[in-house]
Symmetry: C2
Subunit: 450 residues, 2 copies
């Protein structure tokens, strides 16, 4: 039995059945859609994806044809782990039933946080977590919205800023922290992200706290902040997510300090027969060895696979994460992996960083753009800790994955410097910016000639 | 004293001076230019780089201002390693002198191979190794050339095929082997490269051997092959390069089985005080531990740095290569690192490969293109051996560097599969094609659950 049918849940279902073709796999999904790429939602609104339907990797009919039971609008609301039964509410009928299980996966994901001021019936106020949210935003845009306020300058807010701007709306991003992308990048790199948005006509108001909404009739008309009123006929609330841990807690599973469900590397909660995977679940950071809650698509899919294999009698382990993430807004790509300097400092690590600017392609090549890299390592050991990249050829920041690969194996700065990266002028400089950064960082931390 | 002033030579000069600011560093360059990016030559002809001058990283005046002596059109023609003197011919005056040295770097690079049939005075017949070659090709194009034959289907030939086609010439590539890109990729991937060229209107004739040239007056008019005559008013000979080892041999240095100069990891030839670096020099392949001669820009620069540090009293070592290379022709990017299946077989390794096709971005994202990956590993150990990628978004094949980073550390397929790659729809699929390939290859070689 699988509670939750998006990334982790459906990955687990597929894997469980591959591991044991005789397994009786049933997925309960409280929403109307399964197996969709939530990360693609902004791109449907922006037109880079034709329709919400394109985000759906597999339909319930396809899953059923493969032998996986799918119950849409069925929510698992309770667990009796001793009796091995779950309580399932059918949102069609409102009826509630008890179902036995042998193994249970809790893949309940996260919910968008709605502060008190956002708990409103006013039209035009949205979050963006699932397909119905996206459809509601599309309806507001199509209904003639002209002024959008996005509350929250994280990556979803910034992706949406581009989307809505390109759809012709004026866009204001309101962020209570001192900068946008504050949880992802160090300060200098946050500034580059903000500059890209501002140069494209998006207004950014940092250090600004939302206090309420104004409305006329049943429509939102503005956002009241501690720095005044901002008129708006559309408000997107993108202030973060919280893991849906109620079901896990009901099952007796431990909730970690991160606020997400604690599991071992097999995605076991410690409650016999109960697994947890996906955005609602903690993972281990391979660089710090600490528990973290970094809900992202690949992590969720990977956890789901591991859980599915193990639930069906196999033996798989989740390798942990190194904190890789990436996003695009307008032409700009921003990526990070490992730790930022700020994060390393907060953990008490003896970390050093270098900042390097170069070009993403050979400097003389027509499409070359500046690329900015911060590389961070531990003094003394020379161990790589992390990297941050920003470039206006957005795809060029994907080279962050080279650092991710080295972090995975606890590589050193010297390993990065010595890596035989591919080179031709349309792809990079002869000394790729990562190599330049590694060279400088080696000298900075004094481990060059070890 | 440094013989050769392009990639390795100038890297060595800069590094030597940084290592020891008191060092007396003199570079002899037989040509007219130093410190230029030879890999950019096709892109000047194609217009992606404005002028040949843009390829020059540093002029002689700039180098002299930094305290590095530069003697253009001065060729080192002899060495007396016991007396520590070199013979230098000044091509301006034709005069020859002897100069003493303390440390000598031989960075004489490679020469384009000219088969007997290409040793001609006919106008319109070119190789492309240096800036004067590029200027001569430009003159032929500007002079009204209409039909180009490129002899040789390696990456330089294929880069030039795009260039000349875009300049309005009809282009025929003649390759004596069974396919283009034959030394770089396995067969299926060679075919994809050929298809890209053919679909853009370049004619490819494989299995065709050139027997001679035809001319009228002092201009070339055609290429005689074993499959008939091909009319041409321009012929580019791109059949490969050979290392310039004469000077090293004269110094008493050993020439390796690869045909290039043998050195240790400090770039020392074994002859006291004599170093060798760059395209004329062997390196060690980190995957096979064998000596190889893979002349490429990054390798040359890296070797030069190592030599420069050591010549000036420091201690640096060359880490070896993993055989990474990459090129673009038309929209297509092709990349490889490590070994192809063909190469692994030839070495007697127990290798397995999987082929995976996916999309470079999320499948539903507007700019997504098919991407084809072959991943190769050793059965039994699960050690990664290599990867090949082809995609019509050329930059998407740069992710080959993730595999290069893992090869550097002798990583396993499972390490690649477990790597926390960055994901957002404009950059990759949630399961990047490299992860999909690693997953399939793990199963193929039966090391999945180790």
């Amino acid at each position: 039995m699988i509670a939750g049918g998006v990334a982790a849940g459906m990955s687990a279902a597929s894997r469980a059945l591959r591991q044991n073709p005789e397994a009786d796999v049933v997925v309960f999904e409280r929403g109307e859609y399964i197996s969709y790429g939530a990360c693609g939602l902004p791109y449907v609104l922006g037109g880079d994806v034709d329709s919400f339907g394109d985000l759906i990797a597999r339909t319930p009919a396809q899953m059923r044809a493969r032998g996986i039971g799918v119950r849409l609008r069925h929510e698992v609301t309770g667990v009796d782990a001793r009796a091995r039964t779950i309580t399932v509410v059918d949102h069609h009928s409102g009826r509630s039933t008890h179902e036995p299980y042998d193994k249970l996966l809790i893949a309940t994901g996260v919910s968008a946080i709605r502060p008190d001021w956002a708990k409103t019936d006013l039209g035009g106020v949205h979050v963006l977590r699932d397909i119905p949210d996206g459809q509601a935003i599309e309806a507001t845009i199509s209904g003639g919205a002209k002024r959008a306020v996005i509350v929250g300058g994280g990556y979803i807010g910034l992706e949406l800023a581009e989307t809505l701007h390109c759809r012709g709306l004026s866009v204001v991003v309101v962020e209570k922290g001192p900068e946008v992308a504050g949880r992802m990048l160090d300060g200098e790199y946050q500034v580059r992200v903000r500059a890209e948005l501002e140069s494209n006509g998006v207004e950014i108001r940092c250090g600004t706290t939302v206090e309420g909404l104004t409305g006329k009739g049943d429509c939102v008309t503005g956002v009241q902040t501690d720095h005044g009123l901002i008129r708006a006929d559309m408000v997107i609330v993108a202030v973060g997510v919280r893991p849906n841990v109620e079901l896990a807690r009901a099952a007796g599973a431990r909730i970690g300090k991160t606020g997400a469900v604690a599991v071992n590397t097999r995605q076991e909660t410690g409650v016999d027969g109960v697994y947890s995977a996906g955005d609602n679940t903690e993972s281990t950071h391979r660089v710090t060895r600490r528990k973290v809650h970094i809900p992202l698509g690949l992590t969720a899919n990977r956890m789901g696979r591991v859980a599915g294999v193990n639930m069906a009698g196999g033996d798989a382990t989740f390798p942990g994460v190194v904190g890789s993430s990436i996003f695009k807004t307008f032409a700009l790509g921003a990526a990070r992996t490992g730790l930022t300097q700020t994060e390393a400092d907060a953990l008490g690590l003896n970390a050093a960083s270098v900042d390097v600017s170069s070009t993403d392609h050979a400097g003389y090549y027509s499409t070359a753009k500046p690329i900015y890299v911060r590389l961070t390592a531990e003094r003394g050991t020379g161990r790589l800790l992390g990297a941050q990249l920003v470039c206006q050829n957005h795809e060029s920041v994907k080279r962050v994955d080279v650092v991710a690969a080295l972090l995975h194996g606890r590589g050193k700065v010297q390993d990065l410097f010595e890596t035989d990266l591919s080179y031709a002028p349309p792809f990079s400089g002869v000394w790729d910016v990562l190599l330049v950064a590694a060279d400088r960082l080696s000298r900075e931390i004094g481990r060059k000639q070890e």
